[in-house]
């Protein structure tokens, strides 16, 4: 009994000590103008949005259809990059910088329709990175096809389902931005493609990164 209580106390202390350390080391970090206190930067002149995110080490080896998802969304634990900015704020920011949404995806047509909308260039950088990497360099497609991100829109579905999805890797009726290259179901149902983060380029799990979306 005593042994177990001592063990549980030690575990609790160890976890709480480590958690404090992790938060302290990251709270002051600023990358490309975004930080924990200010996780989204809108640049109207440059027509770009930068958001703060964390690398999710799980999906550097596992397959996923989620590129960027808000941490508090239903799928907040499923993307390669866990965003610290809300998906609905991101949608508003996309409209603010002049983005034209496709809004052509529905649940009914999803498996046969490719997402439309204005093209969006997605790039990623972090403190200590030699350059800003294009999304095609940091997320690998097993078919070697380019990731072609489009501003799908889907504001209503995003509110309704609250998945937190900002960028999906196949055409999506919920994600704000998604990949025109594949229709919905390519990853999960038809196994046409395998996506995961590029471990040889990306920093280790938990590293804060800045993801820039440019029209």
């Amino acid at each position: 009994m005593k042994k177990i209580l001592i063990l549980l106390t030690l575990v609790a202390l160890f976890f709480s000590a480590c958690q404090k350390k992790d938060d302290t080391t990251k709270s002051n970090e600023t990358i490309n103008g975004v930080s924990i206190t200010n996780p989204m930067k809108i640049d109207k002149n440059n027509q770009s949005i930068t958001i703060l995110a964390k690398v999710n080490g799980k999906y550097l080896t596992e397959n996923t259809r989620h590129a960027v998802v808000f941490k508090d969304g239903k799928f907040g634990d499923k993307p390669v990059f866990i965003a610290l900015a809300n998906q609905l704020d991101f949608y508003k920011a996309m409209i603010e910088i002049g983005g034209v949404a496709g809004n052509n995806m529905t649940k009914q047509n999803a498996t046969k329709t490719k997402v439309e909308g204005q093209k969006v260039n997605v790039s990623v950088t972090w403190n200590g990175a030699p350059k800003s990497y294009d999304i095609n360099e940091v997320i690998s497609d097993s078919n070697k096809l380019p990731i072609d991100m489009r501003f799908g829109g889907n504001e209503e579905n995003s509110k309704k389902f609250n998945t937190g999805c900002i960028a999906c890797l196949d055409s999506c009726a919920v994600g704000i931005i998604s990949n025109h290259t594949y229709t919905f179901g390519a990853v999960e149902k038809r196994s046409e493609v395998v996506f995961h983060g590029n471990a040889s380029v990306l920093p280790q799990d938990g590293t804060l990164i800045a993801v820039t979306f440019k029209l």
Partner: protein, 126 residues
């Protein structure tokens, strides 16, 4: 063995079962994208605690079977590190994978020691 110790033991067995289930789920992308590890862990640990209410002593066989199954799945699927990500997804997102690895392996070693002691040392005394 008192009830708290039994609850801790079976809760840990529940965690091992949850890891095994999550490892199997990870083989199917559709399921993996829909089932959250925190839910699997919560249910299995809860069941473990509930199960402990009906037991009077620990079950070394159950512990060793679950532990062996977990390691076998990890080796077969080549997903050793996935264990720590599964545990982290149980509301431990602020903690580094390294910390989770150290703590989990320490607890696993501790329970192995306890079970080993119960089986072999007590029998030797008899």
């Amino acid at each position: 063995m008192n009830k708290l110790s039994l609850a801790c033991f079976y809760a840990f067995c529940g965690l091992l079962l949850a890891i095994c289930i999550s490892l199997i789920i990870s083989m199917n992308v559709w399921l993996e994208m829909r089932i959250h590890e925190r839910l699997v862990i919560g249910v299995c640990v809860g069941l473990g605690i509930l199960f402990s209410l009906f037991k009077r002593k620990t079950s070394p066989a159950l512990f060793f079977v679950l532990q062996s199954l977990m390691f076998l799945l990890c080796f077969w699927f080549s997903k050793m590190d996935l264990i720590y990500y599964i545990i982290r997804n149980f509301y431990l997102s602020g903690i580094s994978i390294f910390t989770i690895k150290i703590v989990f392996l320490s607890i696993l070693t501790f329970f192995n020691g306890i079970v080993f002691f119960q089986i072999f040392v007590k029998k030797a005394k008899l």
